[in-house]
């Protein structure tokens, strides 16, 4: 063998990851290498990664944007006291959002699957129609659920509207359900037995070591513990606070700047949404009331989107240029 022979251009076989966190780390490294800003989770309780303002608000306006992050997500009704092999009331989503959606987004996405050990040469990867709609965010888009060997591993969406605003340009959004994806890659049947860190580490921890107890505690809290009167009150308060914050005069006296409190108001919208999910889990919302609550959260999301569009980060480049002249 001659050393001077150039290396073949074939990609090196990718080793299989061995733990939950390795899959997350590989996704982080992959999307960082593709130019995304790796953000940290939003510090509030949300139902899905989409609620992070890095997705909802940043998908509005014309400013280019590329971000990826892990988002802990809470679905109170999905609590199963840590017993169900697949269902959790607290789980992780991996979220990628790029605006405008690049023409090779599907290829970029497939690259991320290769990075975590799902080689399309060995697996059956399919894009199956699945349109996305979030009634609480007043948002919708078209795209697919991505199947790997018959299992849904991601949601792939081209945002068309968010908070009632047309997305121009369109953002491409990828959402990976991390536990389910990792269980598939690692060949695990029950989420609680999944290695969280390196299984050969001196202190090897499973997913269950970290989350079984909290799943129990929160399941009890969500279904029986949470004080519904307080939740109902908090919902109304968050709603009122959101309105109040948006009612301020944009001109800030102290700084002399134009400051619209779109993000603080949106925090209240997130809060209201989570409170609604908790109330739903407590079973105190009837079928007819449900729609009304969803409508109230959507109204907040729309107002926040309206406000964000008035800010620098959410403005249209053309409108900004017009305003400057």
């Amino acid at each position: 063998m001659s050393d001077s022979q150039p290396a073949r251009a074939e990609p090196a076989a990718i080793s299989a990851p061995r733990s939950f966190q390795e899959i997350i780390l590989r996704l982080q490294a992959y999307w960082a290498s593709k130019g995304c800003a790796i953000l940290q989770p939003y510090d509030m309780e949300v139902g899905a990664g989409t609620f992070h303002p890095a997705t909802t608000l940043r998908s509005l306006g014309t400013k280019p944007w590329a971000a990826a992050y892990v988002q802990p997500s809470r679905r109170p009704t999905d609590g199963r006291y840590g017993e169900n092999p697949n269902r959790l009331q607290h789980y992780y989503q991996y979220q990628v959002i790029i605006k405008p959606s690049p023409p090779d987004l599907q290829e970029l996405y497939l690259g991320s699957l290769r990075a975590i050990g799902l080689d399309p040469a060995l697996h059956d990867i399919r894009f199956v129609e699945d349109d996305w709609e979030s009634p609480t965010l007043g948002a919708w888009g078209l795209g697919w659920e991505v199947w790997c060997d018959g299992m849904e591993v991601s949601q792939f969406t081209y945002f068309q509207q968010v908070g009632g605003h047309d997305c121009r340009p369109v953002s491409g959004e990828l959402t990976y359900g991390l536990e389910r994806l990792a269980m598939y890659v690692l060949g695990i049947d029950h989420v609680m037995t999944m290695p969280f860190n390196d299984p050969d580490a001196p202190i090897a921890l499973t997913y269950g070591d970290i989350f079984r107890q909290t799943e129990e505690e929160y399941s009890r809290h969500n279904f029986d513990g949470a004080d519904t009167d307080k939740l109902l009150r908090n919902f109304a308060e968050a709603e009122a606070e959101c309105d109040r914050l948006l009612g301020f005069d944009p001109q800030d006296e102290k700084s002399g700047k134009r400051i619209i409190m779109a993000h603080p108001a949106y925090d209240q919208c997130i809060k209201a949404s989570h409170l609604f999910n908790l109330l739903d889990a407590r079973g105190v919302i009837s079928v007819t009331e449900r729609q009304a609550y969803i409508g109230r959260v959507r109204a907040l999301a729309k107002k926040c989107a309206d406000a964000f569009r008035q800010t620098e980060a959410g403005a249209d480049a053309a409108a900004e240029a017009g305003a400057a002249t």
Partner: protein, 699 residues
């Protein structure tokens, strides 16, 4: 004559939209080309998940030149009129010709449209087709403004003949048409150029793409059957699933797997539904056990391990799904064996409609109504009521929560588990039927009673709150419910009056009237009956019964007994198909017209009875005899609802009536004879009217 090949290459097109998109592409492009003056010999459209393709053979190379002359206003017409003419023709004043006309000089426009070359027309038509494509849902992407079902990546558009291949110059929103495409996403991702359709289809096949969806369907079906057969099993065929799956793959690779032993105890419908809805698997049956024991999944790729990893993955996903199903099934069975009380309780808090109460309220009404209906359909009232109380409880079961399409069927399994009689279990399964026009009608008495009660409760309820269907809007599927009642009644020969205070509709309607306070009971029932009659007309028309025949029978008393109504209409139609029957109508109408005119003129009703002693000719005497005989036959036949016999007897009057009219003048000077004859006509009219209202018949 060159051939045209167009391919629109995009990200994955939803399977359910592909067939329509093929048809739309073909229609929009060929219509556009023809409208612009081109002709073609043949066109065919194709689709895969990533491409829409149109191949047109024998396209003309240019459109013919067209010369059009249009007469305009007079030269002396006001300026406004001339301007309008210029606008409509697109010409300038200098381009108009002046010609002498009868009324003086008139402007003429001579518009010459030169022939255009095909590529120019194709570019225009394709641009407009892409921009106006009728996708059920379309989207924008990136920073562009073009809409397509998913991002459009490339356009292939070539004209080819013996001389070679030319790309049609065309750019749509930054996408420039070319002569290249790509193969399978994973197996042959590189771009390649094509010269014509044959070359295109052949190169695609080498690049792991079967272009024709019918060919993919055929390949999937054949391979799936072979796999099943080789394992001593048989494929459960499913056309809709086959079409959907063929729309999800470019290179189908069927793989067969087994369902783990643990799950074989699940009802076959659950296995089939779960596999189809969630995984798009075909079911495979073991003919020896009759159970669903395997599946065929269709992969879109070839792998070095012959699909082993793919099959293993699919099996794992299926196991997780079926574990859920098994969990639901076992929990549901526990509730069922305990009598389903939890579910009955739960339905109290499920709203059916905010003006019609909860599902629980509805079940109570249906149970009461099923009890009333039971004797009419030969069902035991206690069983019918029991069945109605249980039939909808499965709506609260976990399995139906997961698979709503299994409602009713799961109810049957759970009623069986609860130890209920077979008729009660079957009522749970069958009480939604018939759903579609071709759906089978239940025939077992208890299910029939519950099915009728279910639909009649829905209809009376929505009538009570004024939520009737309007135009194309029928959100509560009330037309379907009415047709369901009609088919249940007719299919089982149910004899029951619908309308009136004693009719079936009055039972629930009275209840709604009490609840709502202000309800004109009789008007509501009459209105709902009219709705039934409308639906019945549509139904019978499809069965070949004439519209006017139905009207002639609807005019009779007892028209709310649908079985009787249809029996009468069927007999009448059969009678009208005989020569005597058809001609009798003319004789009847003649008699009726003469009588009506005389009655109007004289201001009396000639219903005193005719006396044979005033009869003058043989024909008149013969008519008396014929009427006596017919009456003697018709009365008992009508009493026995033997319409065929009654109508045959009526038809025998045709000869005597015709002969009577030929030989006899009704309006004679002898007033006694005239009045007697008018009374005789009255006998004809009333006798015929006792059978059906012949005056409603055409002709």
């Amino acid at each position: 004559m060159p051939d045209l090949l167009i391919e629109l290459f995009s990200e994955e097109i939803p399977a359910r939209m592909q067939a329509r998109a093929r048809a739309d592409l073909q229609k929009l492009v060929t219509d556009g080309l023809v409208e612009a003056g081109l002709t073609y010999a043949h066109a065919a459209a194709f689709s895969t998940p990533r491409r829409l393709t149109l191949a047109i053979e024998g396209l003309s190379t240019e459109s013919r030149a067209v010369r059009e002359e249009r007469k305009g206003p007079s030269v002396s017409a006001p300026a406004q009129a001339v301007e309008g003419f210029l606008r409509s023709t697109g010409l300038t004043l200098e381009q108009l010709e002046k010609r002498a006309d009868k009324k003086g000089e008139v402007y003429f426009a001579v518009i010459e449209r030169p022939g255009r070359r095909a590529p120019e027309i194709i570019a225009e038509v394709l641009d407009s087709t892409i921009r106006n494509f009728p996708w059920p849902k379309s989207m924008r992407w990136g920073a562009g403004s073009l809409r397509w079902v998913r991002p459009l990546h490339s356009i292939l558009c070539i004209l080819s003949d013996e001389g070679g291949t030319d790309v049609v110059p065309l750019t749509v929103d930054g996408i420039t048409a070319g002569n290249s495409t790509r193969g399978h996403r994973f197996l042959s991702p590189d771009a390649f150029c094509v010269n014509n359709f044959e070359d295109y289809a052949a190169k695609l096949k080498r690049a792991h793409v079967i272009l024709d969806s019918a060919e993919r369907e055929g390949a999937i079906l054949a391979e799936a059957q072979t796999l099943a057969f080789a394992a001593g099993m048989e494929l459960v065929e499913d056309r809709a699933l086959l079409t959907e799956v063929a729309g999800l793959v470019e290179w189908p690779v069927p793989l067969m797997g087994r369902i783990a032993e643990d799950f074989l105890g699940l009802p076959p419908e659950v296995l089939q539904t779960s596999m189809k809805e969630h995984q798009k698997f075909f079911s495979v049956r073991n003919p020896k056990t009759g159970r669903i024991e395997g599946f065929v999944t269709v992969a879109n790729t070839l792998t070095a391990d012959q699909g082993e990893t793919i099959l293993k993955g699919n099996q794992k996903v299926l196991a997780a799904r079926l574990s859920d199903a098994k969990f639901f099934w076992e929990n549901d069975l526990r509730v069922a064996r305990a009598g389903m009380d939890d579910w009955a309780e739960g339905l109290k808090s499920v709203t059916f409609h905010n003006k019609l109460g909860s599902q629980s309220d509805r079940i109570a009404r249906i149970a009461a109504l099923a009890r009333e209906i039971a004797p009419m359909v030969g069902a035991d009232p206690d069983l019918a009521e029991r069945a109605a109380r249980l039939a909808k409880l499965d709506l609260r079961s976990a399995m139906v929560g997961e698979f709503p399409e299994l409602q009713g069927l799961m109810g049957m399994y759970y009623a069986q588990a609860a130890g209920e009689p077979e008729a009660v279990a079957n009522a749970a399964r069958d009480h939604y039927a018939p759903l579609g026009p071709s759906d089978a009608v239940p025939t077992e008495p208890v299910p029939v009673a519950v099915a009728l009660a279910d639909k009649i409760d829905t209809l009376t309820g929505f009538w009570a709150i004024d939520e009737k269907p309007t135009g194309s809007k029928d959100p509560f599927a009330l037309r379907r419910a009415a047709l369901g009642v009609i088919r249940l009644v007719l299919g089982n020969g149910v004899r029951a009056a619908l309308a009136g205070r004693q009719g079936i509709l009055a039972v629930p309607m009275t209840l709604f009237a009490t609840q709502r306070g202000t309800l004109d009971l009789d008007a509501k029932i009459a209105d709902l009956l009219a709705f039934f009659h409308d639906r019945l007309k549509v139904f019978l028309k499809d069965q070949g019964i004439r519209h006017d025949v139905i009207d002639a029978c609807l005019a009779m008393t007892g028209n709310d007994d649908l079985t009787l109504l249809v029996k009468r209409a069927t007999a009448l139609q059969a009678t009208l198909q005989t020569e005597d029957g058809a001609n009798l109508v003319a004789g009847y109408k003649r008699a009726s017209n003469i009588l009506s005119q005389a009655e109007q003129k004289d201001g009396v009703e000639y219903s005193f009875g005719a006396d044979p002693k005033f009869a003058e000719g043989d024909e008149e005497r013969a008519l008396f005899t014929a009427l006596d005989q017919a009456e003697a036959a018709i009365a008992p036949a009508m009493a026995a609802e033997d319409f065929a016999t009654a109508m045959q007897a009526m038809a025998t009057l045709r000869g005597p009536i015709d002969a009577f009219f030929t030989a006899t003048q009704i309006n004679t000077d002898n007033q006694i004879v005239r009045r007697n004859r008018l009374n005789l006509l009255h006998r004809i009219r009333s006798l015929c009217l006792s059978v059906a209202d012949l005056s409603k018949l055409d002709g």
